[in-house]
Amino acid sequence: MSEKSDVILCTCGKQLQLDYEILTDRIGKIELAKTVTILDTVCQDDDLEQIAKMIEKNEGRLVIAACTNQKIQPRIDQFLYSKGLDPTRIQYVNIREHSAWVHDDLTEASEKSVAMTRGALARSSTSNTIPTESKDVAGHVTVIGGGIAGIESAISLSGLGYNVTLIEIADELGGHLAKLPMVAPTGKSGTEVLAARLAALKSDSITILTRTKVKYVEGELGRFVVHLVTDAAEEDELHTSAVVLATGFKEFKPTMIDEYQYGKNPDVLTQLELSEMLTEDSLKRPSDGGEVKSVIMVQCVGSRSEDYKRDCSKLCCTFAIDNSLEILKRVPDAQIRIVYMDIRVPFENELIYAESREKGVDYIRGRISMVWSQGNETRVKLYDSLLDQYFELSSDLLVLSCAVLPPDGITELSETLGYAIEDDGHIKELYGKLRRNETRRRGVLAVGAVTRPQFAYEAVTDAQAAALVIHNELQGGRIEKIARGAVLVADDCVGCSLCAQQCPRGVPLMVEETDLENQDDEQKLVFKATIDTLNCHACGVCQSLCPSGATQLNFLTNEQLWAEIDAVLEGAGSDYPITLCFYCEECSVSTIDIVGTRKMKYPASTRLIPVPCSGRVSIVDILKAFESGASAVMLAACETDRCHIAGTGNEIAQVQVDVAQEILNAIGWRGERVGMYRMFSAEPERFTEAINEMVKRAKDFGPTPVHLGTAGKWMEVKE
């Protein structure tokens, strides 16, 4: 049923160059408009009161045409909630940044404003109220991995009031850190750094399971089930609300690089093997137990190499310097030489580099030519690229600073935990700039070296930060929020699992249908999706992919969007070819806002419809636009790989656009009527260039042959 809404038109302090007479007159005549009110500043207190009154009167159905909702909506929402009113049905139209500020022609800008208001009225007419809902979950978190990152995670989560189970595969906690004789930049040993934390773990809220491995995990944020197996092959399961992965790293073992003789000559070791030796205070030549008087260290073994690990391992330079200093503590006259390509010591680690040089450590910029054994000596030939000289010398130890690699087992776990893996094998962060510890899967966090090589202090910071992210999610066990997101009607689900496979955050789960309702035995193995709306990110990817319309965003149903498409395009035709632009409310909304703020001009024969993510737009939505008379359809999305929704929403959109183009081509129309463009708010001209191009196409091609009952004339005439 279509309901009418009130309309508010804001004049921005009477500064907007729009013809408000046209606006009130034309909007007043729209069937879905109940009343039209002009206000001067909807963002100021007096007008906020007005809005509150109108919301009360009309059950919340209200269209506000003003500046960008990115600025006013938070204020209006907050004001209405403080009055106990529900703002969730309000629809916004941006007549400032999208019309008045970017089009020179007053009438055209006004016409466009009317059309877009008509669209918002259509959207409003079937809008739902979105209630605040709550659910209770267990205040329990599972931490996998008992190194410094896992230990700190357990302590932080316990400090925030959660019960924690800390799972470690080895006999003891502490990981690699326990084996470091010196931890940069503090200069203390790993065991010293760990001591206070191991004591803090002795808390009622923390359970430690050593010699235990995670086999697989089921469930979702708020109700995961972790299946465990001990080294005695006993199996167990653990109910938990979130999972922290802290399984650290693995040191590369360079047995296959034959120039270093690792694995063949016992006096050739890795840097961590040396650390262990130093921690145990057993510095001697492994071959014969002899004294260590000379050491050569080789940097970048396996790192910065197209063959093994492309990137830099970050830690190894500092590790090598730390170990050099430790050797010198034990053998003050030891001759230590470090062969390097670039010494990489961040910030104050530079000072340790300086200290080591002062204490006599030699740095040789160059590479090893070869290593061989001569009697009981390890002989090394190397090239010094600065002296342009080769040197040949004996060394008691040859220590290889080997690449830091992701730990074993994370690929297996990803199969049930659903997080993504980076090219280099580490766990992929949700978004490298701002969301390092989150993974693709909601409720699964990754901290410490499992995400990238990290110093101990960085792993600690990670763990503390991730604890906050979990706390934000679980809210102490009672999750309460506006249930804005996807809602699934199980009866309509055909069990195709597209939503579960493609949801950027892994929210829909496939469950046996028998879990939902009783069925005959024959149909027992049919799967259906379930979606917990409170876990949903509200992007709409599931909706655009769902073949049966079973899953829909409760604030932007198919019915709403299709009605809006039809309404904004009213009057489109051969006299006035229209470009319809769907834009995501992430990078695109900002880019278009900035275009407005900077008053960059583009043609008014454009209509804009916001979607939460470009991935919400389906092929059907695109085709609907043509059915309603659009001449061109543009999709404005975030930059490649920069989709705000876990990096994949816009890739789904790209597929939809590609297929829509193919469909148009297949039926004899021009595929170029549809275009997808990537927005970037720092480069607003990206939008103006894109929309100009699409407007040009709209003008060149005119409306599609099929609209307004012109059926029968199917093929486009091509020149």
Partner: protein
């Protein structure tokens, strides 16, 4: 304050630098477009190639320096260098390069460029002449040795005509001064 410090004008220096703008900035593009030059720019000057080379201590320009010189556009110095001809083509530099720069193959490219400009060591021209004329570098001279071992004195199937034909149309012909 001393007199020297009071002086103005450009500082005095004995350094006579190479003027980079006079170098051939297209040279690296040329190399890059050649059969094995694509990875050229991946070089980060670690000098692993030089460390791996068994003879570079005999050279004025080390392998990593030659690659740098290519990147900088020191075309003439590279193409006229004796080093590219002394390259053993043992491929150890290439095998060990962490950035997969095809160092040995690039030296082959350089030799081809040098050859195009006629900068070839005499002995190599001699070999080219052998090939152009005889279609092979080695011919059987002691056929009795073959016969002693039960081999046919003439190598079965051997025919150098095809090779000679081909080399008449390619650069070798130019190198040995054959008719075009």
């Amino acid at each position: 304050m001393s007199d020297a410090e009071e002086q103005t004008g450009p500082p005095i220096t004995l350094v006579e630098p190479i003027d980079v703008s006079k170098l051939d900035s297209e040279f690296r593009k040329t190399i890059r477009s050649m059969p094995n030059g694509e990875e050229l720019m991946a070089c980060f000057a670690c000098s692993t190639c030089t460390a791996a080379c068994p003879i570079a201590n005999q050279w004025d320009y080390k392998p990593h320096q030659l690659i740098r010189m290519i990147l900088l556009g020191m075309r003439d110095d590279v193409l006229s260098s004796k080093e590219i001809w002394e390259c053993l083509t043992c491929f150890q530099c290439q095998e060990r390069c962490p950035q997969k720069v095809r160092v040995t193959d690039i030296f082959f490219d350089c030799k081809n460029l040098a050859a195009e400009e006629g900068m070839i060591p005499d002995n190599i021209i001699g070999l080219a002449r052998e090939l152009a004329e005889k279609g092979q570098l080695y011919v059987v001279t002691a056929d009795w040795e073959r016969e002693d071992l039960g081999l046919e004195p003439e190598v079965p199937g051997l025919s150098a005509n095809g090779i000679r034909e081909i080399l008449k149309t390619t650069r070798t012909n130019k190198i040995v001064g054959g008719e075009s």
